[in-house]
Subunit: 416 residues, 2 copies
């Protein structure tokens, strides 16, 4: 029997996370399915940013480094973020960009291997990884110019064949940015360690969306993003985690904030203990403060409930698409199995770009990814089951009426 909007209203009424939607300021008339790209604004972020700009900066000026605790922000935010990734205390900082953090993490991992087993010079990643991650790996190994090789696999089934006595580091995105496919973090970590290599995880598309247990898996290093499922604001500073057993890890972007005695202004660099040594230059305090607002909301939610709702939203989405769009050339790209998918669904369609634009014009905001992908992010903290229902109604209507076949939906904008 076909699912009705009333069925969805019933699911919302029973949703233990329904209350968390109130924590966000969402525009009227919009179904926002792009929280996997830019998370929505926590409601209290407006008052908080006014306070940091007007009082902390404007009134208290330089004194806020002490009185408002600016100096500890990267570490304090890291400690608040750690439970969401199973990181443990003192092992996470919020700083810089995901790209810069990946550069630092890979440099640290390669240096550990170089000291221990110099013949290990292969970096393994996924061919379909977020391109920046591959560019960063290449940028670093080109800079090192020591004969490193980048070896790309097509998926989990190929990983074993890429691990050998020359493998130094494996770096993977926990959830693929395009397809939404999820790697088994614990199993891959075990597999990589068994081969004598280290693993650097990019949690950009998983942190805040599903339970992660870095320490439980005994992973080596991880980086990730705070402006997707962690709702830290556009381009908010990223995070970096290092397993405490890698206390000797060194990174090359050695700025004052990572020094053991940052205000002594000593001639020689001595890295701070623990993850603090992964800090470098002065961080954008106002942006960091907004990361705190995102964490205020995230840390109140049970990640198991978040994950359960994410999968339920996804199952509903799939069932509705299959019911309403059966005759359209739209196909699921994301793996269907629960244990193989993250928190967004990707479909292919020959006119994907124009379809996304036509949907946005109707207030259903997903996004497009090359070459033919429609992405829909499912963010359990503020998305309702009725939103999914309404979104698929719009998709079905756009496809059935060929609403996308309008020139204005085919003009590519600067950011796609």
């Amino acid at each position: 029997m076909a699912l009705t909007r009333q069925d969805c209203e019933r699911l919302d009424a029973e949703d233990p996370l329904a209350g968390s939607r109130d924590a966000f300021a969402l525009p009227d008339g919009v179904v926002y399915l792009d929280g996997n790209s830019l998370g929505a604004r926590p409601r209290h972020a407006a008052a908080r940013v006014a306070d940091v700009v007007e009082r902390e900066w404007g009134q208290d000026l330089i004194g806020s480094w002490n009185t408002a605790g600016w100096f500890d922000l990267p570490v304090r935010l890291g400690d608040r973020l750690a439970p969401l990734i199973g990181g443990g205390p003192g092992s996470t900082v919020v700083t810089d960009t995901t790209s810069a953090n990946l550069f630092k993490a890979l440099a640290a991992a390669l240096a550990l291997q170089h000291d221990a087993e110099p013949r290990r010079t292969v970096v393994v990643s996924e061919r379909d990884n977020f391109p920046t991650d591959l560019y960063i790996a290449k940028g670093l190994t080109d800079l090192l110019d020591r004969g490193h090789e980048l070896r790309l696999v097509d998926g989990p089934e190929d990983l074993a064949g890429a691990l050998d006595e020359r493998t130094a580091v494996v770096t993977l995105s926990h959830v693929n940015y395009r397809t939404g496919a999820l790697w088994d973090l614990a199993e891959v970590t075990r597999q990589v360690h068994a081969a004598g290599a280290l693993v650097v995880w990019d949690l950009a598309h998983s942190a805040g969306a599903l339970p992660i247990d870095l320490l439980g898996a005994d992973a080596d290093l991880a980086v990730g993003c705070t402006y997707k499922y962690l709702n830290g604001g556009p381009g908010a500073p990223a995070f970096l985690w290092v397993n405490p057993r890698h206390a000797d890890a060194r990174q090359p972007l050695t700025g004052w904030w990572g020094h053991a005695r940052p205000f002594a202004m000593e001639d020689a660099y001595e890295p701070a203990p623990g993850v603090t040594r992964f800090l470098g230059g002065t961080q954008p305090v106002v942006a960091l403060t907004l990361v705190g607002c995102g964490l205020d909301v995230a840390e109140r939610a049970d990640l198991a409930a978040v994950r359960a709702k994410s999968l339920a939203l996804g199952d509903l989405f799939l069932a509705l698409v299959e019911e309403r769009c059966a005759d359209e050339p739209i196909s699921l790209v994301t793996p269907r199995q629960h244990d193989r998918r993250g928190s967004h669904l990707t479909f292919s369609h020959p006119e994907a770009y124009a379809v996304v634009q036509a949907l946005i014009a109707r207030g259903v905001v997903g996004d497009y990814r090359e070459p033919d992908c429609l992405r829909f992010g499912l963010t359990p903290l503020y998305l309702r089951f009725v939103d999914v229902y309404d979104a698929v109604e719009a998709i079905a209507d756009v496809l059935a009426t060929r609403a996308w076949d309008d020139d204005r939906f085919k003009v590519r904008s600067a950011v796609t």
Copy 2:
């Protein structure tokens, strides 16, 4: 004849920059002499940040990458900043931290030399440079592990002796963070080029405080800070400039934003033309927006007038200190000559830390730097001549009454 407060009021009445003070929200009862560490808040920053958080992020969400122009922000802000450093269009970006930008700039410069003259493996800097700059140079050359040497000079008079056929790059802070000493940017650039080396300038303590002509001097690369004299907010993203004749320069932090086609998600990294290739990861948009507020004010000011007032404020400060504190153990560290000093004055005093705290307790906010330095930043856009008068009155009183000799002023806080 002794200078009176009335004399200072007269100077303020005649000050062509007097009106710019209104552009800033300054706390009552404070003489702020730390704009060289954290610039004051432009008044309109409060409304602007509310707009970017509430409308651009909260309402328009992901669409703001296009509609609010987020995607072009680093380049647009760079083009607005360029006239303040004589940079020319298309050669400056606002991104990342000064430390990360210095890492990229030094890596690019060393790569240019490596390709052209591989025997050049010496990096020259100043022993008393901002420690992070030296740490970054060391972090980079340690990472490269190709036998680079860091050669430190004590000042301009020693530079010639450090330049030879092995010198690859000279990196200097235009104005020394501690002493306020100013290097002759044009002359040093000429001298470095004559020796076949490249120069990377750190303009952290000069950008916005005095006229700079990078293109006129034909400098190679430069980095700098937007949260000091450019009033971009605490820890605001930094800038990087590259001379257009170095179109081939490459940097290793190769993220999506520096790609020739950033949304094509191509497997291979191809650097964008020009300075855009120095971008990498996604930047903190809210913090970038505040940089724009600082530039709104800075770009309305004539930098020649800013410099003239900065020197006049400094001369007044010195004359008053010499008049009122003649019997105290306080000595000028900053070079006295106009062409050898930046926009802050540094004095030494055996109890410098406690003196600074006692002054802050009276609303005169300077700062302390190891081992015995009092720093006073002179920011012509919002500092009045009467402020200098009042500040020196407070200094004279604190010293004469030994107000600093109070235990509560001697307790070191986290940030000094």
